[in-house]
Subunit: 499 residues, 2 copies
Amino acid sequence: MTYEKEKQAFLNFLQEQNYYKQNLQLLQWDSHTQIPIQGYEQRAEVIGYFSEKLHQLQSSEQMKYYSDYFIDQSKDALLQNLAYECQNIYDSATKIPSSLAKAYAMQISKAEAAWEVARNESNYAQFKPALQKMIQLTQAKADCLGDGKNRYDALLQQWEPGMTTQTLDQLFPKLRSALIDLLAKVNHSQIIVDEQLITQHFPSAQQKAICLQLLTNIGFDHTAGRLDTSEHPFTFGLHARDVRITTRYDETDFRQSIFGVLHEGGHALYEQSFGKDIQNTPLAEASSMGLHESQALLWENWIGRSEEFWSANEALFKKHAPASFQTITANELYTALHRVQPSLIRVDADEITYSLHIMLRYEIEKLLLNDELSVDDLPAVWNEKTQAYLGITPPNDRDGVLQDIHWASGYFGYFPTYTLGFMYAAQIFQTLEREIDIRSLIANNQLTTIHDWLTPRLYQSGKSKLPLQLLEELTNETLRPEYLINYLTEKYQTIYQFK
Amino acid sequence: MTYEKEKQAFLNFLQEQNYYKQNLQLLQWDSHTQIPIQGYEQRAEVIGYFSEKLHQLQSSEQMKYYSDYFIDQSKDALLQNLAYECQNIYDSATKIPSSLAKAYAMQISKAEAAWEVARNESNYAQFKPALQKMIQLTQAKADCLGDGKNRYDALLQQWEPGMTTQTLDQLFPKLRSALIDLLAKVNHSQIIVDEQLITQHFPSAQQKAICLQLLTNIGFDHTAGRLDTSEHPFTFGLHARDVRITTRYDETDFRQSIFGVLHEGGHALYEQSFGKDIQNTPLAEASSMGLHESQALLWENWIGRSEEFWSANEALFKKHAPASFQTITANELYTALHRVQPSLIRVDADEITYSLHIMLRYEIEKLLLNDELSVDDLPAVWNEKTQAYLGITPPNDRDGVLQDIHWASGYFGYFPTYTLGFMYAAQIFQTLEREIDIRSLIANNQLTTIHDWLTPRLYQSGKSKLPLQLLEELTNETLRPEYLINYLTEKYQTIYQFK
């Protein structure tokens, strides 16, 4: 067969996999937003069936043949990149024996159910046996993926290609001590940030009007995506021209919807901006979960929680806000959005304490996977570390070790990507300040300029480049925690008036 | 292999086909209600891909093997019915050569596009060549399906198993002359039914509140289905526990939503009520399109447009209706809902004239398929028949021969099922009057009793029985047009005061 024919056959084969991917995304999206309750049982079977079909394609001899062929013979960079990505996909799909993959999937179902009961009853003992088994299976999985080398690195690769524990172990301690230091300064400040201003009643429909306008402002293409409601906000990209996000509405806390939409909107901009050449191929994914998160955080925190943003959007906000909000100034709102308060629950954490939650989990995950911590001792270690980093101790396991579903779902090695997202965002924002004076753009509501600038430099290449490579090309530097530390220090020393 | 093992393998094979069916239903539903506009292009490909996959299973050697095996060996009625249904599916999937199937699918796309332009411009010439080609391909398709015998019968079988043109040609003329006679009496009546009462402003949200309550009242299970909005109302049953209907809201005509929801709700009750034994098998479909339509019409017209219904629901209606509706009596509403007026557009037609539109199409379809009418002469014949049956002549082709998309979409032989639905509904309603005093049940809002009575007798067997067999078992009679004629005569002679 000629090269051109092989190429066409390869692209057709990838298109077929893409149909399954789109389809699975729709099935999942529908399950989270639309499905009637009695539809779940059949839906789980349908998702299982099509996931298996996709896995068969990903682990097929054909997949191996094409990736080998085009790694060797490709005449352009796109084919080369596709071939390497297919090799990764093939390896992930085949390195784990199907008996282990099946046992793992089944154990996730059991562990998630056990976790749900345990958390509701705040009874860790209910979850412990399932967690023990999950750890064992995750160790086995990591050994397959990493060929017996560093287990944590093997798991981390799934979400953050190219990242290593060695790098994290250099970055995190520095960040941790800076954050603990910052937190102490905030704690000692005489300033009290009052959130009462923003917990006044605000009807959902009016919040939604603001959310939709903000999405338009940041460059979200409503003809290539939609906004829905779900309990846990998420982004599902069926493909670049159909990206669906959700938010939730709390009528006594507009932050849930507005910052939720900016966060998911950031994810969505990434998904809508993949280059035409990679759309509907396996390269049409974010370079890594950390980089994906960095864009959500860039829009949510760096842009959405800036003084400039609230000045620029005061009129929009007040147009839709109830009467009780009309006398609040943009600056009062800005300040009220920045209360720092060590809390037990990660998902409620502020910008300073969030990463402390992550580092605690990262350290514990490593201990568990290396058999240096037993599930018996886990809650005690969790509580000790929470006290050490945040200065508070969970009164029960529900608000401690049982708060996240991640381990029950097999997401070991995922947590670090959240803090990597913070560091990436800080470093990218600094570049945006230097290159396009981003603060003026925000102040003038010229937000699409930011999107337009990031698209060719960050979004459009998708998975063609590794995250650290992209970051270095964009910012001319390797990843450094100082940008995050400086951003937080400057912001909060102004608000909390410390030196 | 033992019988039990074969049986299990057969059921697994059918389950696999069911996953594709559920999936295609979801893809279609989403395309009609949720998808962002830029998502269509990929969606068409995805639907095409999975339709082809399903077709491969339906036309596989395995399908033939199982249907032959269980037609011969089945030890229970369910397996027997499944085997026969699979034989039908296999035959439909294999009788048409794949070259013809492909040409047909492609021509549908072209013809629909041409029809859209032609209708917008009211220019039949734009559609004529595509229609000509559709007719030729439909003839070829009918010859494959019917093994060269009666073409129209072959097409009709797809929607109405067991029905023949011979039967239709006995039933329709009798009905037609009765309807024309009735229409003349209405036209000569001095009574003027004024619709102004019901075209007052009625906000969508309040219409929706009524619609949701009516769905509950008729027995629609909201935990196994949902109501959405779309331009053209429809019902998509993913499976019996996930049945999705839509309606449309017109703020100056509440009939669109309320009767739309009763109509689709009738379809949905059928889909939600398939027996547990046949759920998720190929038998979990309505016995025929005519019988499916009969249930939509039973709830929309026989129940929803009855005097008893409007008395029973006056309070519900007024609870949500604007002030201007509050002084209208239930009887005034009932009367206003029954204006008879020959009109050019089928979908706007009343109970009396609707079937005249159908019979006109049926007669023309037969002529076209038998080469007894050319596409050149079609508009003239359309207009002549409209004048003959309805007493009016379309002033242009948009309101005449170009009004329906059916022929462009390859739905030749489908139209008769609408009028069969009217006749089935009338005959079933007469049985319901006799057996469970349905008018009292409606008057007392005990509508779920009707659903409960129909479920074991009509709905639960799905496609296990032919429509005429079901009708005869239910009503103890073969299909007779007199029930429809009597129903319409009694109703309208009271309203229009003729003898």
